[in-house]
Point group: C2
Chain length 316, copies 2
């Protein structure tokens, strides 16, 4: 599947991963709706297996492998949700997952990977160290590298969340996703434009890690350099597979400030009684702060995950 | 309705309040199930209107009033979820709610009551001051006093949560509720024993506020004196209407320690990604700490609410 995938690939992914994922609920809040004078539909991937949408892509990639590839295992570098998701998916297929993590990765993320049976190799916390360590593992074990987002199997897997949202709620005026490396956004954009062409597809990004916004505007990839944002799932930059899809199918990319993300996150916790990680609050931050014309609209928001450190809440 | 109510009264309550409440979801967690080797079904009243099951009882009481009573308004004393619930219910029926609150009541609770249009009268933080202030308001306005739990309209309203749980999940071996004043527990016990007689009904109480446990064991009411527990919804003692129902229909009352409540609360937040208040974690604490024979059982747990101060989390 090396040409740009289509809706059929997303339907195939949905079928492939169905036994292993939750069809997550779409929640609404009359209090939040009243506040923004719009109808918001939150697709709650914080309730997904492994606590994030990443399970979808990882499962689709792992269950797309041939039997022969299976015997070799999979490998990736990640300190976040993709690491746990890949370990989870590999475990279900009875194969080994090798995860390269920086030595300063949060204990809770290490524990999650180990809990799903993944084998962790630590490295120094630089991109170079991650890549050379990963290459070493691939050389030694023959494991198949599964990139966190720049991979069509991952992209189509992530697109299944938006597909479920569109199946559950019709006539959405727009769908919003947070954007980091662009796996969720490109998959969602493919699903939205095929399933409901008149629905606008908008990605929302932290101003402090705005490579997608700048790349989209410039028309060519401009990676972020050392971005810093509370939305730690969105530090990565678009890749050469996610960017063209986003460029073609997204209607807009808007950015939000750090304090807007924190306020939106707190609002979700307080009013909706669900735990979401900072990255998940980024789309709502755009609605709350007038970055999007929301009044009177029906808006779907993909809540990306719920894995956050309860001992380090950003409003303290 | 001054004889002990029955399942028909709970069905009537369910019909009466249906337009104004959420039919809350029943969530499961494979991680938590694996930990306790049982199947747990969480009836999520933290997602209920006003953030707690209390909306059910308050709505049933308010919508049971005659037109004449309506004109007089309702009144109660509460610093907790009943205050907001009564203000919410009264607002929906277009009548005034007078809420007596201690002057040290949390700002967030005051805000909730005002947000629903309730009128707050402050008093000193003693039971005596609460009662005399309330009496004064009733004398002045003619408002109908709606007790937080010792009232059959409240009891049958609260019973609708267990009814929904039993309708959604059959063959439960037991249903667990937290117990404070006993409104939720007595209503649930009535529903459970009528709807599914072989299902055991068990109440769980903080050891630090164990009047229900002691009263149940002694066979007569023994109120708590100045109890202190993190489960601030469970400080109240049983009343003369809730106790006889609990005595007749509960199979057991067990107690849990403070640190067991905090650990259970954190487990729910971390694994289930939902925000629950400490009182809501009390039933799970009993399962986690072997207070109940849970292995292999199908267990329903009523999650009472999600109103907790995000700036004062108990594990910090």
């Amino acid at each position: 599947m090396e040409k740009i995938p289509g809706i059929r690939d997303i339907h195939d992914a949905a079928k492939r991963i169905k036994p292993f994922i939750h069809r997550t609920p779409v929640l609404t809040s009359s209090a939040v709706n009243a506040l923004v004078q719009a109808e918001l539909f939150f697709k709650c991937e914080n309730f997904q297996k492994t606590g994030a949408f990443k399970a979808r892509g990882a499962l689709n990639a792992v269950f797309s492998l041939s039997e022969k590839e299976c015997a070799r295992g999979v490998a990736t570098h990640s300190s976040g949700n993709h690491a746990a998701a890949l370990a989870y998916a590999a475990g279900l297929r009875g194969m080994q997952a090798h995860i390269v993590m920086p030595e300063n990765a949060p204990l809770i993320k290490q524990k999650a990977v180990r809990g799903y049976g993944g084998a962790i190799t630590f490295c120094r916390p630089t991109l170079e160290a991650r890549e050379t360590t990963l290459q070493q593992i691939v050389n030694d074990t023959g494991a198949v590298f599964i990139h966190p987002y720049n991979d069509y199997r991952i992209i189509t897997g992530q697109g299944t969340a938006a597909l479920e949202l569109l199946e559950a709620k019709n006539n959405l005026d727009m769908v919003l996703t947070p954007v980091g490396g662009g796996g969720l956004t490109s998959g969602s954009a493919l699903a939205v434009k095929a399933f409901s062409p008149k629905t606008k597809m908008i990605a929302v990004e932290p101003e402090n890690a705005d490579d997608a916004f700048r790349s989209f505007t410039a028309g060519h990839l401009i990676p972020s350099v050392n971005p810093k944002t509370i939305a730690d799932g969105l530090l990565t930059s678009l890749g050469d597979k996610t960017f063209p899809i986003i460029q073609k199918y997204c209607d807009a990319i808007v950015t939000v400030r750090e304090e807007e993300i924190v306020d939106a996150m707190r609002l979700i916790w307080e009013r909706m009684k669900i735990i979401v990680e900072p990255s998940s609050a980024v789309p709502l931050a755009a609605v709350l702060n007038g970055k999007i014309e929301a009044a009177g609209k029906r808006i779907g928001l993909i809540v990306s995950g719920g894995n956050t450190e309860l001992d380090k809440l950003p409003w303290r």
